[in-house]
């Protein structure tokens, strides 16, 4: 796995484990916001949502949007 593939894998893994949360998309976005360093976030934003599960993809979109807004 190269770095981007690993980030995709990690995002999906987080999404699977937070699937039972009340608001899974927000939970995944929050988790990534809290634990990934800026470069990891930039790498996955640049990569886009290919290979991401629907919840992970929505979370990444949400996070990218809030970062751009900031």
């Amino acid at each position: 796995m190269n770095s981007v593939e690993r980030l995709v894998y990690m995002a999906n893994q987080i999404a699977t484990n937070l699937a039972t949360d009340g608001t899974p998309v927000a939970a995944v976005a929050d988790h990534i916001q809290q634990f990934w360093d800026p470069r990891m976030k930039q790498l996955i934003f640049a990569h886009g949502t290919e290979g991401l599960s629907p919840v992970a993809a929505a979370a990444i979109r949400k996070l990218a949007k809030s970062q751009n807004a900031a």
Binding site: S3, M10, I14, N17, A19, T20, Q34, W36, D37, R39
Partner: protein, 952 residues
């Protein structure tokens, strides 16, 4: 101060609240009911002669030396077996007693070699002392030869057994039974002929069940059982109280010294974690501190293919600082990072993370807890609000049901295991606690002398969450949940959501059996026992955390404890058994890339401002890189420099090939350690470290107990580790001026609310303190969440079982799980440099007889162990401790490199690697793999130190 052994009160302390007043030799004394007369006398300062009684084991009453006279009683009762009574009038010194005692001593001495002047225990022998105390001047009997002239047993590497000096007091047997719980010793023969033996008469100590804890040596009043070191260097002359640097139990010791030479480590009876006991590592395995392979001078090299060049400290600091500056300018400040050590002190760890945050200018700091208990931090913080265990060790004395999951305490946390076993055996007519063990392997505690687990659930590795959810299913659907507790203490809506989830039919033990392989009836019985058996306490270890669902498992454990009301008082709780001595402390000190000390997120503006004001710098509000992320970034070419203190990531982290690729891609790897460890093969700068014997500071154990570490000798390398970090910071232009670690602790206390009341003075006064120590709890907090959870309401989190992606298949049909054994510690860098290697000279692969037979493998054969990540070879041992389909090994030896085969799958929340599950294949082999041979060659090359004398 001249040497004094710790005072011996003769019999154990009574915990009774009731007080009894009596008169001894005309003076009144008040002691707790249940105390013996000998103890009451000792508390009053009167020492009654005694030989067979000592205060860490129950009295036995065999030597008849402690006789006293009691008004109104006939004869001369033994004071060690006579309990105090109100109004009792005792006389300890009368002519009659003196005569009787002299007679007793005379008999002992007649069967004892009279070589006191040349005996190793001369000056530290109770027989000698008591002979003096009773005024024995001559012996009327012929020398009896019952014990004289027997062969010595030198087999144990740390202590000798000389049966000719034995007085058959049985203190050693009682220590082994009651304190250690191994039951290795027996008394053969009767009366005057009795002899101590380790197991069968033919066994020597090394070949017996003995685990070399040393409790018998400490208990022995004579030189029969004596440390080899005492024989070699003589008796100590002073002592310093300090803390063990091996495991998270955090035993307190008296380091007994002769000048600057350590003679022996004796467990300290007032140590609150160990209560006077220890294991083989802490008591005996400190020889590494003076090992010839220790590196004492800083060394540098341009490239890892060059030999090392020794330099002066000043040059090392200047060069390191210039390299870090160069890299920061060229690649940006985010190309730098650091790893703090769970073996170093809180103060040293705090400085390393401060150097990264304030000096390197980012949050790229992580610690080895990443690979062990990071899921504990995440899971317990989410559910309870604090990243730590809830109990003190004493709490286990009040447990009725003990549930151990994914932990092997007898090997990894031996002293706590002994305390737990004492409770499991029951004592003083109180029945023992019941035991549930959830572990793929039949660990020692499942069946050991006088202990048998009520339930052992041998689950398939990787299915912890499924097993715990099934237990929750039973508890909720059978109406065993403690709804009153939940209503008062937890968020009811979250509970209802969780209860509804676990109640689903798909979560029943029957439905999950194909996944977990656990017998549903056994699981149901275990769940009922935990929920209804009284005080239920959960202890867990790395078998919980080192999984792709490590954090979920921790939360599932917390859910179970809350659902059954097992939180907030003695005897219950959720207790991570921490691996390394200061892993709790390293986490507390802000070693994680997203957290400042005291577990405050770096994005928390208020917390950050506190540090910014104190340090006079601005801090990055974004989380930094975790160790695996650092390695990925290094391979991508953007992470270039690493300061690694006291950790060996190449050996301890998973997927060795990936770690070495990451390290090889860096331009400046700084290793700060005692030895040229495996990571140092890839290092450009080596800064020699100091041992725990050579520095001042504090460690925090698994019960949140902050304990002093005290310097007993000058650092051989010249500097304590905190001084090295400080000098490096100064070379980088930071204005740091600590003159003593106590000043670092003052800064920690100033910046960390849970440490607000901690200082070296307070620690000296109290001995130790359990955080939080603050205005509400000035004396610390033995039990947490007493009146409410730290986060407010306890949070139930739904944990759905997600199978790991590491799956068995035709190519890799077996599951490998890894662990540790008693005599070694972690990657073995220290223990491999001690005599402990006699117990574990190499890592072995445990394989079930059926799997072994399929492959034509016998015990002792070399086998090849292969996974998708890599392969290695080691020897096999065929055993039914592991279930069919499962194999097991340890990772203490560099040549085995078990992590060559572990993969880089990791916990979803924390990236804690999944060490405990790897799909593998085993086949017969006839020698090391290519990797092992190449690595061996590389190590030899990388460890060369230049012997050239520079010209001029």
């Amino acid at each position: 101060m001249t040497y004094q052994p710790q005072k011996d009160f003769g019999t154990p302390e009574s915990r009774s609240e009731e007080a009894v007043t009596l008169t001894i030799d005309g003076r009144t004394v008040t002691v707790p009911a249940g105390s013996s007369v000998v103890r009451a006398a000792a508390e009053q300062g009167t020492s009654i002669p005694k030989l067979c009684a000592t205060d860490n084991v129950k009295s036995f009453g065999s030597c008849r030396l402690c006789l006293v006279e009691i008004d109104g009683r006939r004869g001369t009762p033994a004071s060690c077996t006579t309990p105090v009574e109100p109004g009792m009038v005792v006389r300890t010194q009368t002519p009659h007693l003196a005569k009787l005692r002299k007679g007793v001593m005379e008999l002992y001495i007649s069967d004892h070699p009279l070589d006191c002047l040349t005996c190793a225990a001369n000056g530290d022998c109770e027989l000698q002392d008591q002979a003096g105390a009773v005024g024995l001047r001559d012996v009327r009997y012929d020398v009896q030869a019952t014990h004289l002239g027997q062969d010595k047993d030198h087999s144990n590497p740390y202590f000798d057994f000389d049966p000719s000096k034995c007085i058959a007091c049985s203190r050693c047997i009682r220590a082994c039974d009651e304190v250690q719980g191994t039951f290795a010793l027996t008394m053969e023969g009767r009366g005057w002929d009795s002899k101590i033996s380790a197991g069968l008469a033919s066994d020597n100590f090394l070949g017996s069940e003995c685990v070399s804890c040393g409790a018998c040596v400490q208990a022995c009043p004579t030189a029969t059982l004596v440390e080899k070191k005492v024989v070699e260097v003589g008796t100590p002359e002073r002592s310093v109280v300090t803390t063990c640097a091996y495991c998270g139990v955090g035993c307190t010791f008296r380091a007994e010294m002769r000048g600057e030479q350590l003679v022996r480590m004796v467990p300290y009876k007032d140590g609150k974690a160990n209560r006077g006991h220890s294991c083989v590592k802490g008591r005996f395995a400190w020889g590494y501190a003076q090992h010839q392979e220790r590196i004492l001078n800083p060394m540098i090299r341009k490239s890892i293919s060059d030999p090392w060049r020794e330099v002066e400290w000043d040059e090392a600091f200047a060069y390191t600082a210039s390299e870090l500056k160069r890299i920061s300018e060229k690649y940006g400040s985010h190309a730098l990072g650091g790893i703090t050590s769970s073996r170093c002190t809180n103060e040293e760890t705090f400085l390393v993370q401060k150097l990264v945050r304030a000096g390197f200018g980012n949050n790229n700091v992580d610690t080895c807890a990443r690979v062990c208990h990071s899921p504990t931090g995440y899971g317990l913080k989410t559910t309870f609000g604090t990243s730590a265990g809830t109990q003190d060790f004493d709490s286990v004395e009040d447990s009725d049901v003990i549930l151990i999951i994914g932990a092997n305490p007898t090997d990894a946390h031996p002293v706590f295991a002994s305390r737990m076993k004492r409770r499991l055996r029951g004592q003083d007519r109180r029945p023992g606690a019941k035991l549930i063990v959830i572990d793929p392997r039949r660990t020692d505690i499942v069946r050991s002398p006088h202990i048998e687990a009520q339930h052992h659930l041998p689950l398939r590795p990787g299915t912890n969450v499924a097993v715990l959810t099934a237990m929750a299913h039973v508890i909720v659907t059978e109406g065993l949940a403690d709804e009153k507790f939940i209503n008062e203490r937890c968020d009811w809506d979250e509970y209802s959501h969780w209860a509804e989830f676990v109640s689903q039919a798909r979560n029943s033990p029957e439905n999950l059996q194909p996944v977990t392989l656990v017998d549903p009836e056994e699981l149901r019985a275990a769940a009922r026992l935990y929920a209804t058996g009284g005080n239920g306490a959960i202890y867990y270890g790395l078998g919980v955390t080192e999984h792709s669902q490590g954090s979920s498992t921790v939360m599932a454990i917390a859910n179970l404890a809350m659902a059954t009301g097992n939180i907030g008082r003695r005897g219950v709780g959720v207790n991570p058994l921490r691996g390394q001595n200061n892993v709790q402390g390293a986490c507390d000190m802000g070693s994680f890339p997203h957290e400042l000390s005291g577990y405050r997120h770096v994005s928390d503006d208020d917390a950050r401002r506190l540090f910014e004001d104190d340090w006079g710098v601005s801090l990055d509000p974004e989380p930094g890189l975790r160790i695996p992320n650092m390695l990925d970034a290094a391979v991508d070419g953007v992470f270039k420099a690493l300061y690694c203190q006291g950790e060996d990531i190449l050996q301890s982290d998973p997927n060795t090939a990936h770690v070495s690729a990451g390290l090889a891609a860096m331009e400046c790897v700084i290793v700060h350690d005692l030895f040229l460890n495996e990571t140092a093969n890839y290092a450009h700068i080596f800064l020699p470290g100091s041992t725990f014997l050579e520095k001042n500071g504090t460690f925090t154990n698994a019960e949140r107990r902050i304990q002093p570490v005290r310097k007993v000798m000058t650092p051989m390398n010249g500097l304590e580790d905190w001084e090295v970090t400080q000098a490096l910071a100064q070379a980088m232009g930071l204005d740091w001026n600590y003159s003593h670690p106590s000043e670092i602790m003052d800064e920690i206390a100033r910046l960390t609310p849970t440490f607000a009341g901690v200082s070296f003075d307070r620690l000296d006064e109290a001995g130790s303190l359990q955080w939080p120590v603050n205005a509400e709890a000035p004396n610390g907090s033995p039990i947490m969440h007493v009146d409410g959870f730290v986060r407010g309401k306890g949070k139930f989190v739904v944990t759905d079982y997600v199978p790991t992606d590491e799956k068995t298949g035709p190519r890799f049909p077996l599951l490998l799980t890894t662990g540790r054994i008693l005599s070694h510690y972690n990657v073995g860098a220290q223990t491999r440099r001690t005599e402990n290697v006699v117990w574990h000279p190499e890592d072995l692969l445990e394989i079930h007889p059926i799997d072994a037979e399929d492959r034509g493998i016998k015990s002792g054969d070399w086998v090849n162990l292969a996974s998708r990540a890599g392969e290695t070879t080691l020897r096999a041992t065929v055993t039914d401790r592991v279930a069919p389909g499962i194999v097991y090994t340890t990772f203490h030896h560099a040549v085995t490199q078990a992590n060559v085969v572990t993969t880089d799958y990791s916990d979803w929340a924390t990236n804690c690697p999944e060490y405990k599950v790897t799909a593998v294949q085993i086949s017969a082999s006839n020698g090391p793999t290519d990797w092992q041979e190449e690595y061996e060659a590389l190590s030899t090359r990388a460890r060369r130190i230049s012997t050239d004398i520079p010209a001029g």
